[in-house]
Each structure stands twice: as C-alpha cells, then as structure tokens.
C-alpha cells in the first residue's frame, strides 16, 4: 500500500522536509516511486505565481513537440527550473531525458477570457500535450496550472531525491503546500501517470488503499468530463469525484464525503436532510467508494482536506504546531518533522469525519 502525506506550512518548505516525512514510513511501501505536488510556490517561481507552470517529463523529441505546440498556441516562456541531475552511479531511478518545469505567459487573447475560460484553456492545453506525447510514447505531462509544480518518478524515493538534488535544499523549490506519495506498486504496471498526487483544474489529490469500486467509478466518470481520462490508477477516481462535486456541480464541500462514502439508508432516513442525501445516493451512486482508502486533497483556494473510508480501514493522522500542519498515513513521519509538537492535539479522523486545514492553519472538522 502506498504511503501518503502532506504539509501545509506558514513558511515555505523545501522538498527535503517532505522526504523526511515520507521516508520513515518506508516499511509501508516498496520504494517503487515518489511523487509530489507543490503549491503556493516560492523559490525560482515566486515572481510568476499567477502564470501557468507546466510540469512534464519527456524525450528530446517530446520536448520539441511540446515547444512547437506551445509556440503555435501563443504561450510564451517566462521562467524555468532545469534540474541538474546528480547522475552518480547506483541510483535506483528510471529517469527520463527531459524534465520540464516551465512558466508560461498566457496567449494575448487570454486577457479577455473569464476565469472559467482560462481554466478550460489550461486543461485543454494539458490534454492536448498529453495526446501529442502519448502518441509515440514521448513523455508525460502532469500539470499545467499557476503556482503548481508536479514531480514524479519511478524508483527509490531517496535516490530520486538525490538525483534531483532535493536533499541539498538549494532554495530553487519551496512551497507552502505539498502533497506527496511513496509508491507501493500492487495492481498496476509501473506507469508514471499512475503515481499520485493527481491534479485537475486546481484540485490535487492523493489516496491510498484499494478503490474496490474502481470499475463502476470509471465507467461512470469516463463520460462525465473530458478531463476524466487515463484511469491508470484507481485513485484518480477520487480526484475526479472531488472535481465533479465541488467544481462542476458547485456543491459545498461537505457533500464530497456524502458522495464517496454515503451514510447507510437507515441513518439517512432519520435525518432532516434525507431528501438531499437520498438524491445523492440515487444520482451519484456510481461515485461511491467502498474499500479501504484515505484521501488527502487540496482545493483551488488552498484548503487542504483529509478523510478516510466509511469503515476506517485506512487510517490517517494530522499533527500540527503553530507553523505547520502535517497529514500522514503514519504518525512516525510526523514525529520525524514535528518532534516537539503537542501530540495530544493530533487528530485521528474517524470514518465519518472530514478535516480541513485552511491557509491560516486553522483546522475545521465536521462529521458527515
């Protein structure tokens, strides 16, 4: 099973902190990969927080294809982080030739676009790049969004960090919000797209466990939105549902949990809002999950959430001090980076609960 974790901090953190959170949980994963999504960026991308940042890996040819596409669609390059890899022998990493972390300015006509139109432009651009790269297996595009950077690679997380010089804390990459995963590869081929966190139009999500309703989720989601594609991992379904409920339907966040882990009928029938909850069970029955899972998500407004399945088969813990809130599959990771926190304030969300950490690190908890 994968181990997942996230950090929300008042001061920017560098990737090494994230690695220190994840590596102690190593017994729970198999060192087959590491992935993280950094948001609210500092370091070299600070000046361009409102400009879309492209994160992708590719071959040389892929890089050319991407550049051609971006040129043809009037995106202009602004800034770039070019990792200088540490190619010391013996590292367990299946590196790709090119890692692109590049800021672009919007095409000129974007000035007249509404926010929603811009969002769609960014999504469509990412989907188009994905298609181009997929054709001859020339690369993988993870995110294209302002202030969001995604890094994923196959291999030992610690070696991946060495390769990208993430241990060096050189200040290039820093963020106030990071979601990360160390992979346990069970069901699926090692495909880069299968590594969470996943990102879609401002929503980031990471989940562990087994989505036992993957097939029905996928059957349903495939025709809901053009962004719901790939399904290389069963956890993508959680992101799609979050995006669908919150972004597409524009329902308040509380209904995300009601959708993925609906209450039993017996309880619904006793509640005042039963008509709404029954409506959700009827119309969104295929977005239910019914296996062991923990979810960590980040919303477009920066709020970070976590919850688990309806039987609490995959637990999660939240630890915090005044400067940082940390969500993790296992408490040992939190102990490593926040050893002096007040442990009595740790939160172990129950099966009905959602925990939300806002940008001021205020924690809100509610029950379904």
């Amino acid at each position: 099973m994968c181990r997942i974790g996230s950090i929300k901090s008042k001061t920017p953190v560098q990737p090494s902190v994230v690695l220190r959170l994840m590596l102690p949980q190593q017994e729970g994963h198999d060192n087959s990969g590491f992935a993280m999504v950094m948001q609210d960026l500092y370091g070299i991308f600070s000046p361009y927080k409102d400009k879309p940042l492209l994160s992708l890996v590719c071959t040389q040819k892929g890089n050319r294809l991407v550049e051609d596409y971006m040129d043809a669609h009037n995106f202009t390059k602004l800034a770039e982080w070019l990792p200088v890899p540490n190619k010391q022998p013996g590292l367990d990493i299946q590196a790709m030739p090119y890692y692109v972390f590049r800021n672009y300015d919007y095409p000129e006509d974007a000035a007249l676009m509404t926010e929603a139109e811009k969002e769609n432009l960014l999504l469509d651009t990412r989907l188009a790049l994905r298609k181009i790269l997929e054709k001859d297996n020339q690369g993988y595009v993870y995110s294209f969004w302002p202030d969001v950077l995604t890094l994923k690679e196959i291999g030992d997380p610690s070696d991946i960090a060495t390769y990208f010089r993430l241990w060096e804390d050189n200040g290039c990459l820093a963020a106030k919000s990071v979601v990360a995963q160390c992979r346990q590869n069970t069901n699926y081929d090692i495909v880069r797209y299968a590594a969470h966190p996943f990102f879609l139009q401002g929503y980031t999500l990471c989940a562990n466990g087994e989505n036992t309703f993957y097939t029905k989720n996928k059957n349903f989601q495939s025709s809901l939105h053009r962004g719901y594609i790939g399904f290389e991992s069963d956890s993508q379904c959680f992101l799609n549902t979050l995006h669908y409920v919150h972004h597409e339907l524009k329902w308040p966040l509380v209904y995300y949990k009601h959708t993925i882990t609906p209450l039993p009928f017996e309880e619904i029938n006793r509640r005042d809002d039963r008509e709404v909850l029954l409506g959700i069970r009827e119309s969104l029955a295929n977005l239910e999950i019914n296996g062991p899972n923990t979810v960590i998500g980040v919303l477009p407004d920066g709020n970070m959430i976590t919850c688990c399945d309806s039987k609490k088969l995959r637990p999660v813990v939240v630890g915090r001090d005044d400067n940082m809130a940390v969500i993790s599959s296992e408490v040992c990771g939190i102990n490593e980076i926040l050893p002096n926190r007040d442990q009595t304030r740790d939160i172990y969300p129950n099966e009905r609960e959602v925990v939300l950490i806002d940008n001021e690190l205020e924690v809100t908890r509610w029950k379904q």
Binding site: T215, P252, E282, S283
Partner: protein, 543 residues
C-alpha cells in the same frame, strides 16, 4: 389378443413410466385418488402361476385375477412425473420414472400446438454457472465479515435523475431541494415477480403475499411483489399493505376496473406500477389463462366471464417506444399523481438495448425501471413452441444495457432489473449477485417462489402442467380440492426463510470482495471459465 395398431399409444410413448410393485401395493387407492391428471387407474390383471406344494413334484396351475394400479396410455391423461402418487403411497409401491424413449412431443399435436406451463426445456444451459466471483480481497484490501459488518442492501426503483438535473440549490452552505424530482423507492434487490391471481390459486398468491408482509414488517427487508396481470383482491387494494405491491398492467388490462374503482379508497400508494410489454418465457405472446382456471372468483377479480383469456400480444394503440412513454407511462404516472414509480417489463430481445436507450432519452424522465425477462423465465401457460424456441438469454442483455447507459453518461438513471431463470439451480443469491456485478440493480424471481410452495416442475419436462387447472400441488389451479393440498402458512414461511438465507448469502458474497453496499456494475469482481462468455461480458477469462 387385442388388435393393436402401430399408431396406438403405448405407455412407452409417454415421458414418464409408472413403476409399480404389486407385491407392495395394498390397493388403498391413495395414488389413484391423488393423481389429478387421471394418469393411473385401478385395473384387474390376470396372473398365472404354477406351484408345487408337495415333497414330490405335483405342479398345480393357478389362475387368478388380481387388482392392480395401471398407467393410462393416453396423450391427454398422461403422467407428468409429478410424484404425488409416490408421495402419498404408504408402501413405496409406485413411482414415476423418466422415459428416454418418449414420443409424446411428436405425437400430441392432434388438436393443435402443444400448450403447457413451466419454462423452456431446451435452453436450460446457464451462463451464470460459468461465472464465479473471482476477485477476492486478500492482501490488497481486507475482506469484510459477513456476520459482523453492516451491509446496505438496497436498490433504487424509480427514475433517477442525472446529477445536473437534480432540483438542488445551495443555501447557506447546504443543499436544499427546490422543486420536484421523480419518485425513487429504495427496495430490496429481489422482486417477487408477476404471477397473477388466476395463474396461481388465490391461496398460493396469498402465501407469497404473506411472505412479503412478513419480510417487510418483521424482518425489515423491503421486498416488493408484482401483482401480475389479473388485478388484486379489493381488500388488499384498500389496505396499508398495498405499499408493498407493484401493480401490473398488461395488454389485457385485466383487473383494472377494480383497481380504478378502488383508487379513491386507497390508504397508501402502491410500491409501483409495472407495465408488462412482454415476458421472457413467451416473447411476443400475450398472457394466457385457460378456461379451466377461470373460476368464479377469478372472473370477478379480473372483471371477465368464464372463457379462455388471451391477452393480445401488444398494448392496443402502442406501436412505438415514444408512444408507450407518452401514453402509458404518462397516464400511469398521472393516475397516481406522479408519486409512484412506473416501470416497464420487456422480454429480453436483440432489441433490448435500443428500447432502453430510447427510454433513457425520453424527455419526460418518466420510466422508473427497465425489467428484462430472459428466455429462462416461467409462465403459467404458453405454446410449447414459444417456450422452447423463442426468447433471449438475459445475462448479456443486462450487461449490454448497463454499458450502453454508461457510454452515454446515463448509468443507473433507469434502474435495471433482470429475471428469467434466477435461482434455477436453487441459489438465487449467487445468481442475483452476479447479475448485480454485471450491471443489474436487482433481480426478479417467480418460479422459485412457487417451487418453495411445493411446485415440482422443472426444465427437464417434469410436470409443467400449470395450464391445465390440475396442478397437483394446489398452486396453479382453482380447484378447491387441489388447493387444499397447499399449506399457506407453511408455504409463506418457506419463502420467508429462503429470503432470509438469500440475504445472508448475498452478504457472504459481498464480504469477500470487500463491499458493504451493492456492487452494481462491479464486473471486475467476476471471472469466467468460458472465454466466449468472458469476452462477451467484458470480464476476465480464467482457467
């Protein structure tokens, strides 16, 4: 010697041969009295025997006339293999044996096509038995505990709206309901299917209805029962229990006079309305109730005189799906103030997906369920040629419909119910579970219910005499003598016990795949040992 012609019927031409042991028989007459078909009779047999009773040979030839039980060699009063004679014989002197050399099917068309009840005898092969639940939660995720966890076993019945059509508005950070949506009832995914009063004896129907009452009231298992085409007792129509019944309307509209008259007095809404277009056992044929079974009280409930009642194959005036939606669905919905789900039942057919697609796209959002009845469904009366040579298996049809909806982003908007042969080999829970994983919201059963009441009919030609009015078990007849054979309370209990076991068994299948709510469409839970089936259904092939 009697003159015998080759065309004469002999016992060996019949499907069942009576094995009779005269040395055990006491001539009590029980078997003859109980055979409702007159297939055996008391007769006298000449018996010659030579015995020697001295120390030295002194043969004496004895000649005696001995009373015996004899099988009737007739194409009308033939033995059905029901076994009632064996059941009542105190001395194990008599029993029917299947005759592999029978010629009855060939010879009995003298007065037209053969009619019978039961289900297909030629297509008893089962897809569901080649499918197993193969995706078991092992190390990847935990299995649940069937005895300890709580399971949410409910299925929607009614038109489900697409999410964006839900009449929800956001107010103060909460969703509120603004406006109306079609009624949806969450019921148990096992519907007792349409066997009419008339097809069944009133007592047998009552036994099934009592089981429904008990399951709902005592065990909180919301099983629903479809009335069948033939109306319902007036008392039931105006009782609280109506809420457990789905009233059927078929092409003959039998019983609807009374139903309409009862409407102003109804204390509660029915569970639903089921428009029957067709039936899996005899697709393209209307209902058939032969004169022999139209007793006085049946005529009264149906509002008809004593005659063979053949429903037309079509609902008059309905020649297209759109018309069906506009006329029947709308009027049925309107009749109950749009508070009651209206569903439709069709025989499985190569055209099922088109029908389903059309219903899904209907602008009124008015069809609350699509019931597909497969070739292995049963019937009280049909032409044998329809039973054996028309129809369509239901399993792939359910799957096709489910996938067709998924492709259009309309999954689950019209709940799918599959029937026809569910529980044929005794385990309805396994069948239901597999159907659900393939995309059904639930299943409907009929034959298995009467089998629990005592019906001995099967797909190998046993009994199947439901059309004759002579049902030996008192289930499918209005003959008071025969009906008396049925213990209504015991029968109802048997059904209740079966459903309780069904419920426990369903959990026993949900638990190992780690699900506490119904895995509708979770086809990855299934694998097949038959590559063609796997390929057709889109599930894994294993060997």
């Amino acid at each position: 010697m009697e003159a015998v012609k080759t065309q004469d019927i002999g016992v060996n031409d019949l499907n069942w041969i009576i094995e009779y042991k005269p040395e055990r028989c006491t001539m009590c007459g029980s078997c003859v009295a109980s055979c409702s078909f007159g297939a055996i009779k008391a007769a006298v047999r000449r018996q010659d025997i030579t015995v020697s009773e001295e120390n030295t040979p002194a043969p004496v030839h004895k000649h005696s006339a001995r009373p015996v039980i004899k099988q009737v060699a007739s194409l009308t009063n033939f033995c059905r293999g029901c076994g009632i004679c064996q059941k009542v014989c105190p001395n194990n002197a008599i029993m029917p044996r299947r005759n592999p050399d029978a010629r009855r099917t060939l010879l009995s068309r003298d007065s037209g096509p053969i009619k019978r009840g039961g289900r297909t005898n030629l297509n008893a092969e089962r897809t569901l038995d080649k499918i197993v639940v193969g995706r078991i939660s092992q190390m990847t995720d935990p299995s649940l505990d069937a005895a300890r966890h709580t399971f949410d076993i409910r299925a929607p019945f009614g038109r489900v709206l697409g999410t964006k059509e839900l009449p929800f508005a956001v107010e103060n950070g909460k969703l509120t309901v603004k406006g109306k949506k079609p009624p949806v009832r969450w019921i148990y995914p096992l519907i007792f299917s349409d066997m009419s009063i008339g097809a069944l004896s009133t007592r047998a129907w009552e036994a099934v209805a009592m089981a429904v009452g008990c399951l709902n009231e005592k065990y909180d298992i919301p099983v629903r029962m479809s009335s069948g085409e033939g109306g319902m007792p007036a008392k039931l129509l105006t009782s609280e229990y109506l809420k457990y019944f789905i009233i059927q309307i078929a092409s003959g509209h039998f019983g609807w006079n009374r139903i309409i008259q009862a409407m102003p007095y109804m204390k509660t809404d029915p569970a639903g309305i089921l428009i029957k277009i067709g039936q899996g056992a005899k697709p393209g044929d209307g209902g058939l109730l032969q004169k022999e079974k139209v007793a006085e009280h049946i005529g009264a409930i149906r509002g008809v005189p004593r005659a063979t009642l053949a429903s037309p194959p079509n609902h008059q005036g309905l020649y297209s799906i759109e018309e069906s939606v506009q006329k029947m669905h709308l009027s049925m919905n309107a009749a109950f103030g749009f508070r009651v789900p209206v569903a439709i039942k069709c025989a499985a057919s190569s055209t099922s997906v088109s029908v389903y697609n059309n219903l899904l796209r209907d602008p009124y959002k008015i069809c609350g369920g699509f019931f597909i009845d497969g070739i292995q469904g049963g019937t009280g009366a049909a032409n044998e040629i329809s039973l054996d040579h028309t129809g369509h298996p239901v399993v792939s049809k359910i799957r096709d419909c489910y996938l067709a909806a998924a492709k259009q982003g309309l999954t689950g908007q019209i709940p799918l119910y599959g029937g026809g042969g569910i529980g044929m080999t005794g385990n309805a829970a396994a069948d239901a579970f597999k159907m659900i994983c393939l995309g059904a919201n639930g299943v409907f059963v009929g034959k298995i219910l009467i089998q629990l009441l005592g019906c001995v009919g099967n797909e190998q030609g046993r009994c199947n005499a439901c059309n004759t009015g002579k049902c030996p078990m008192g289930i499918c007849t209005q003959n008071p003598r025969l009906v008396k054979r049925l213990d209504v309370d015991k029968g109802a209990q048997k059904i209740v016990d079966y459903v309780l076991a069904f419920d426990a068994e369903l959990k026993k299948l949900m638990a190992p795949i780690g699900n506490s709510s119904l895995p509708v469409g979770r086809s990855d839970a299934l694998v097949s040992t038959d590559a063609n089936i796997a390929n057709k259904l889109g599930i894994g092939y294993v060997c």
